[in-house]
């Protein structure tokens, strides 16, 4: 104790922290007594995300833990704190009729289709162990097919040391935690690359408005070379992978703990409240409105390359300001625009405030600035944004 007094403040803090942690050390997490594997019978991304959320909220884990196995029809899923306009080309997705969903856990953007397997490991907060789950999956794949599978420090599962076959994300609260990961079994990689193509231009093809001017604190996805497990291993099929991983999971806590595979039909009558969760997840106010605050700066080539900055909060535009160049001292953006474009209407830009942001923003701004009325207030991209 005297050493504590003599120690430097920074060291003292460390020792205090260590002491406090020792005193308040949590007892070792107990093993679950029962394990089940749930196979979701739905391929709707919103239904499955809602089911995951429902189980997370309504089930008390700890003694009985779950592995939920689910697959979705082609769609794109962004992380909870991501910016959809930065991650995907919303125009392209809308044109392709591909749904865009925002999940509850963090992490990056993923493309799902029926060749992609989603696994969610549910447990009590104390039992949460991401790397154990990843190693379980890796072991199952190695034992079943002899793949060269490793787990790297970013919690990615790598095939042949280089190709990413899985992405991971997690959500924790006081009592419960879940860790979900994707596994690429035989995904349509062409569709994947097309859907996850980062938009360089903000939608209007004839003019160049690069989107690197989009600044935000949102989580950015880290792109990586991907590969399917089925490439080069013809004996791989989705059912066999599910069986292998499921069996490995069920064996964890001993034979008598296994409660087997259960087919689950996510419907509101079996899971009361599921429909409400699903509606919430499909609501554009969640998918687009949950975007963290960001600003988008772009140049309008048709307006003498004037630079405009748009601030967006909760998916709604809060300000649209033309930016004067750095060497124009004291001149406001509006004055600058009037000086270089006498026929422009910079004051009309204020009408965009309160509107929903969409990928078309540059075209709309240009239309307003040049005084072309009529088409400025309709967003050509996702119609769902208008429903927000």
């Amino acid at each position: 104790m005297s050493s504590l007094l003599l120690a430097r403040p920074s060291v003292r803090l460390l020792l205090l922290a260590a002491g406090r942690r020792a005193l308040s050390a949590r007892p070792a997490a107990p093993q679950p007594e029962a394990l089940s594997v749930f196979l979701s019978q739905s391929h709707n991304v919103f239904t499955n995300l809602a089911l995951e959320d429902w189980l997370y909220r309504n089930f008390r884990f700890g003694r009985h833990n779950l592995l939920m196995v689910w697959r979705n029809a082609p769609c794109v899923v962004i992380g909870r704190h991501q910016n959809p306009w930065r991650e995907v080309d919303t125009h392209h997705l809308h044109a392709a009729g591909m749904p865009l969903a925002r999940r509850n856990s963090g992490g990056g953007t993923v493309y799902h289709d029926l060749g992609n397997l989603n696994l969610t490991f549910f447990s009590a907060r104390e039992q949460y162990d991401r790397s154990a789950n990843l190693h379980l999956v890796a072991d199952a794949l190695r034992q079943g097919w002899g793949f060269d599978i490793t787990v790297n420090e970013r919690d990615d599962i790598l095939l042949d040391g280089a190709f990413k076959v899985s992405g991971t994300a997690a959500k924790l609260t006081r009592n419960t935690a879940y860790h979900h990961l994707t596994l690429m079994v035989n995904v349509d990689t062409d569709s994947l690359h097309r859907s996850l193509e980062r938009p360089l231009y903000s939608g209007h093809r004839s003019l160049e408005w690069p989107l690197h001017g989009l600044k935000s604190g949102a989580t950015e996805s880290v792109p990586a070379p991907v590969r399917n497990l089925a490439d080069g291993a013809p004996s791989v099929s989705m059912d066999k992978i599910v069986a292998a991983i499921g069996q490995m999971y069920l064996k964890q806590a001993g034979k008598q703990a296994s409660r087997g595979f259960q087919m689950v039909n996510p419907s509101d009558e079996w899971f009361p409240g599921l429909a409400a969760l699903e509606a919430g997840l499909a609501d554009p106010g969640w998918v687009y409105g949950k975007t963290p605050r960001f600003s988008h700066t772009f140049r309008l080539a048709a307006c003498s390359n004037v630079e405009v900055e748009v601030q967006v909060e909760k998916g709604l535009i809060t300000s649209v300001q033309p930016l004067p160049p750095d060497n124009s001292a004291g001149v406001s953006g509006t004055e600058w625009v009037r000086s270089i474009l006498p026929s422009a209407f910079p004051e009309l830009l204020a009408s965009l405030v309160g509107e929903k942001y969409c990928a078309d923003i540059a075209r709309r701004t240009e239309t307003l600035l040049l005084g072309h009325t009529g088409s400025a207030d309709t967003c050509r991209s996702d119609r769902r944004i208008l429903a927000m």
């Binding site: 104790m1 089940s36 909870r80 963090g106 009590a124 919690d155 994300a169 924790l172 087997g260 087919m263």
Partner: protein, 502 residues
Amino acid sequence: MALLLTHLSRRLQPTHSLQLAGRALSRSSSARLCSAPLPSPLCDEHSRRVCRRPGAAPALAVRRLHTGDRRAGKVVPFLLSDIGEGIVEVVIKEWYVKEGDSVSQFDSLCEVQSDKASVTITSRYDGVVRKLYYSVDDMARVGQPLVDIESEPGSSDSEDEVQERDAIAVVGGEHYVLPTPTKVLTTPAVRRIAMENNVVLGEVRGTGKDGRILKEDVLRYVQEKEKGKPPKETAPAAPKKPAVQEVPKEAPKAPVETVAPRAQTVLLAEDKTAPVSGFTKAMVKAMKLSMTVPHFGYCDEIEMTTLVNLRPALKKSAEAFGVKFSYMPVIIKACSMALLQYPVLNASVDAACENITYKASHNIGIAMDTPNGLVVPNVKQVQNLTVLEVAQELNRLQALGARGQLTAADLAGGTFSLSNIGAIGGTYAKPVIVPPEVAIGAIGRIQKLPRFAADGSVVAAHVMQVSWSADHRVIDGATMARFSNVMKAFLEQPAAMLLQMK
């Protein structure tokens, strides 16, 4: 599906259900750390504020004047607790509260993100948020203050740990035995009140967060008990348990092989309504479907005397193979042999009864009473199995069923069903067909009854009743009767079975 749904149904009750799984969650709080006055270096700024009791001299020199009673609304910095995985810094992604909002214990405060994990931080105290230390997108350090919460004056509950322990604090009268130990969420103060009033916490409905039982809930329960209920014949008040309750040991698991009889009785003080959910709901659905099939019944008696006399010899033979012998495999095999002669009984009709499929394989389902309820796994391809193999398979299914581990493959694909209700008791029954099958049989108990022999004397015979039900749209009474006669002949004269066995 049925098996897990029973587990689900126990946990699918609304969140204020009394049956919450979980271990005792006694988190150490600073309150516990400061149960004795600690010397100042170990009691940092945070604990010192909390530890101070009125009138106690502070351990270190006071830097400011106390002009008022600090107890009225003390501001406590809530530290960002350890996220785990060695993480020291997280990014604040979203605030759910702002300064001036009032929060209760376990309300969500904010969402933080550490690499791939998104964590919801919940409040540990009741009170009003006075200061947010970070804004969105800032990096917060673990162990540093996150928010300042001013706890309400006089709220002693905020520092008591909410403990999740067993509900059985007091054992009431002799008649009252709870079926399973339930766990409830309360503070020690509430437990004390419950003990004083002789209230079993498992009976009280909690209205707090996550089903917590609050003081008001216990008092309301006591009032209701005094008002409308008839007085219970209770034994003299049980001796009060000590304040520290130990988690009682788990009840030893019932042996796997035998079906444990339900020994507990529950005396309901009032009507209890529960929604039909989970396994029972699945049965409701299945039975509704069965009721669309027009059933007819046919019952008969089979003399099992010869088989019963053969039992010791058969038992010895079976033991040599490590198989436990019973009559059921013999009955199943006899059934299959009879089905070879009447394949229409091993058929399947579609829902509209437009097509009938004669199944090649005799997958005979055996209705089992497991701890989870009624399940019907089937023995596949009985026509190709010997009686011994049928017995082995039956034992395997029974063992799995008792543990609740039957797989979907075991449960699917049945073509004919038998129900051995006689194992529990009974003679004649009226079994309900399992769609899309067309027939089912219920085997009664083997009883020793007096019967007339061929020469007119009365002999003791081992008699077993069998009750058949069949789908009258495709099966007629004559077919059923002839099939039953064939099976009866096999069982009454096992030697004949020998001749025809494939």
